[in-house]
Symmetry: D5
Subunit: 118 residues, 10 copies
Amino acid sequence: MAEQFRDILETFANSYPGRDYTIEIICPEFTSVCPKTGQPDYGTMTIRYIPKEKCVELKSLKFYMQRYRNEGIFYENVTNRILDDLVAVLEPKWLQLKSSFTPRGGISTNVVVEYGEK
Amino acid sequence: MAEQFRDILETFANSYPGRDYTIEIICPEFTSVCPKTGQPDYGTMTIRYIPKEKCVELKSLKFYMQRYRNEGIFYENVTNRILDDLVAVLEPKWLQLKSSFTPRGGISTNVVVEYGEK
Amino acid sequence: MAEQFRDILETFANSYPGRDYTIEIICPEFTSVCPKTGQPDYGTMTIRYIPKEKCVELKSLKFYMQRYRNEGIFYENVTNRILDDLVAVLEPKWLQLKSSFTPRGGISTNVVVEYGEK
Amino acid sequence: MAEQFRDILETFANSYPGRDYTIEIICPEFTSVCPKTGQPDYGTMTIRYIPKEKCVELKSLKFYMQRYRNEGIFYENVTNRILDDLVAVLEPKWLQLKSSFTPRGGISTNVVVEYGEK
Amino acid sequence: MAEQFRDILETFANSYPGRDYTIEIICPEFTSVCPKTGQPDYGTMTIRYIPKEKCVELKSLKFYMQRYRNEGIFYENVTNRILDDLVAVLEPKWLQLKSSFTPRGGISTNVVVEYGEK
Amino acid sequence: MAEQFRDILETFANSYPGRDYTIEIICPEFTSVCPKTGQPDYGTMTIRYIPKEKCVELKSLKFYMQRYRNEGIFYENVTNRILDDLVAVLEPKWLQLKSSFTPRGGISTNVVVEYGEK
Amino acid sequence: MAEQFRDILETFANSYPGRDYTIEIICPEFTSVCPKTGQPDYGTMTIRYIPKEKCVELKSLKFYMQRYRNEGIFYENVTNRILDDLVAVLEPKWLQLKSSFTPRGGISTNVVVEYGEK
Amino acid sequence: MAEQFRDILETFANSYPGRDYTIEIICPEFTSVCPKTGQPDYGTMTIRYIPKEKCVELKSLKFYMQRYRNEGIFYENVTNRILDDLVAVLEPKWLQLKSSFTPRGGISTNVVVEYGEK
Amino acid sequence: MAEQFRDILETFANSYPGRDYTIEIICPEFTSVCPKTGQPDYGTMTIRYIPKEKCVELKSLKFYMQRYRNEGIFYENVTNRILDDLVAVLEPKWLQLKSSFTPRGGISTNVVVEYGEK
Amino acid sequence: MAEQFRDILETFANSYPGRDYTIEIICPEFTSVCPKTGQPDYGTMTIRYIPKEKCVELKSLKFYMQRYRNEGIFYENVTNRILDDLVAVLEPKWLQLKSSFTPRGGISTNVVVEYGEK
């Protein structure tokens, strides 16, 4: 089940829960597999969020991202699915995920998904 | 008929139709022909859209863009025409097309067209 | 008469008059003459406009810009005068002109003028 | 006690207290220690603030930043703590702190915290 | 008296007084002296303003800026003082001054001051 | 016959035939077709040569390059073939051709061919 | 056996075998696995070679590079091993391989290996 | 007569005639006219020379360059002609002139001419 | 004793000892302390070497570099001392060390030291 | 006397006198005065040298460079004079000085002087 990927994500308690602030995490080494061609895709995942009670632990996030290494999934779907996983685990006030994939056939694609109000 | 170009565009079902998110597609290898001089024009087409039920399939988009390779058409018109085709086929919530053409006579031109509300 | 410069500008009919879209034209090879020192000035003229019925024809724009080659005129005035000429000929919904001049005495100058509502 | 770090910060009287203006201070040589791994972290601290009665003295700010050189503290916490110290000492109208850390495990992190209204 | 510096500033009549437009002037060769250490400071002064009746003459502005060459003055104060001088002489609708100083002790500073409404 | 392409190239007499000097011509709008996939390729052709009696006329060079627009040919071969054509027509002392093609399947290719002694 | 990877590499006949020219191929999407930590490594492989009788076919090169996706191997060894494979299959006059890996623990590594005389 | 342009060039005595050193002068505001189309050309002239007894005075060089403003002349010829003028007036040990012209028809051109031994 | 720092450096056997190849290692997070002012210095250490029998293990190199974190030492000396340590431990065919330090008092410094023949 | 400037330069003993290595010092905050116009000049002085017995002390170098702040001197002469001073004080094996001045009248100038053999 795809949802099981999120079990690997760990959190730690936000020490400043009463304050709105933004954490930006940039993962330029994301890779998954195109479900149509079986060819690897490469991209950068940029997470920006305002935490409530929980912050994402970075080492667990690294392992979570690595789970997609041999996973066949489209650009649009992987972006939405990672957003869903992060929102389920972090329960943030606001979270935005931007993915930027390297060119295929001379065409490159970025996807931006957002949860909550800033 | 110019409208026939759009028949080549294929779509796939948006898996997250209830969520507003943005897909950006950058096509830096666009080329058409100036109808006045017969000389080739070169540019980048950048599509940004919020899908409703349909997403554009990238390989078909590549073939669609290639159809302009030997088509004589002005900067302003090709930008509007591609917008019309994408809107007709994708029926998006919002779509923006930006074209950026390389210099001619020391002058370069960009055109931005938009459909719907963000 | 300065106004005569604008006679050289040609237009073609906007094929999409019912739609608001933006055309940006970048002219990095502008040169005029400083009326005080007689020395040449160099700059980039960037036009951005939303057309109504008319679009500017690019070859005539190139010739129009060349008319300033030996014209003595201050930065602020040439920017306003070109705006006036373009507005008179194009009757656009909105037009912005930005000029950027190369350094003189270690100081560089940009001017931004706007017409109409975006 | 962590709060004691702030004692090193010195201020001087704002000569223009009746006017809202912004001071931006960029400290690209920040380093602290990861409390989990004991490994050093490196980053840039960017402070932007609108002063009321007091401005921060730059040499004391340099010494304050150096105090974190051997301090074990997480990205999120150090950013919030420095904000708290600067706000306590400067009592500014508005203050924003942005931290940008170099990559660890292929992932880089930025944090933005803000105090007051702009 | 510090105010006497402004006497060197000359103006010329704005030929388009009924129109709001923006003039940006970039002076990357500004230098003054730190009043504490006696060491020279180096920076860029960027002026942006909407003129009313008067525009600043660039050669006189160059000489005005040079007057700070051997003047001992803090970053925050010199930025506010130049703003005051320009506002007194130009009586503009709006004026913004941004100063950017090179690093000292690994720390760089920018100051932004504004007058009037845009 | 492929060799016929070169008939379009025109030359003019080198006015400084007794002097070794270098002419560099950069053509960033080259496009041909992959003979295997039928898909368009895009690249930049950079010619550097030391003329003997003849220099290449730039407008004819532009038309020559355009002849490859719908020609199916591999990267390595098109680079060698253009070198052969230029050498046959210009009879230069030395000529180097560098081609740089945009990525395909995440891989980009450059080819450098040289004729004569520098 | 590691040598078996090279079986996937295909070649085509060099059409200009009597001429020394250089082919450069840039593969920015290389990934393998650290044999010590089991963590993925990411890098760019840049091949430069002077062919004799054979040129490498790019699609087969892409598949060859992908074989390292789940292979545990050190930076230095993978660079030498790919060189050996390319030399065995292409029998070039000269071949250079440069690998550039993304930072680990704040440290990045490049390796350059060469075969034959230029 | 074209040679008369060089009369405007002034020199001053090299204070270090017994020492080989290099002076580089970059003139990014060069403009002349295409003799074929009558259209203006724009480029950068970069002079590098080792003086013997004379150095070129910069203000006179600026006026010399401006003389080409309305002169019809090809890229290759103007580069050689300026070299000849500089060599005649400066009698340097070594002099190199590089011209770089902005794109025309999507093609840009640089010319490098050299005199003497370095 | 300063030499004791080198004890932390570990090596692994070069798998390709019969072949000359270059390994480049970039450490942008180097910091030491100025022995005169007690203030921290920051820089990048770039090692390039041709191994004989031994390659440096990267994790031990990271720990070795961190030992300078609180060490008082001049730019020139730390560069030579690290070279000596690396040469003693690796016994390479050739090794070059380049250090680049961030500006102090508006002045930045780089040092390049080399051992052996390339 | 101009030579007196050099009295301010201090040296320290080179700890590695038996080894050839290169020290590069970049001073981007150099300013002097044009002896013809009285206007300030701005530039970057880049020193590269191989020391024998002595290295230049950086703080004294900063003060030495500041001595030119109000000194009227031509580009070519100041570069040669600083070289002479550094050579006299450091007695290096090799020393190169490169000066790069900001544009005047649209023209920028660099001078490179060298002493000794590398």
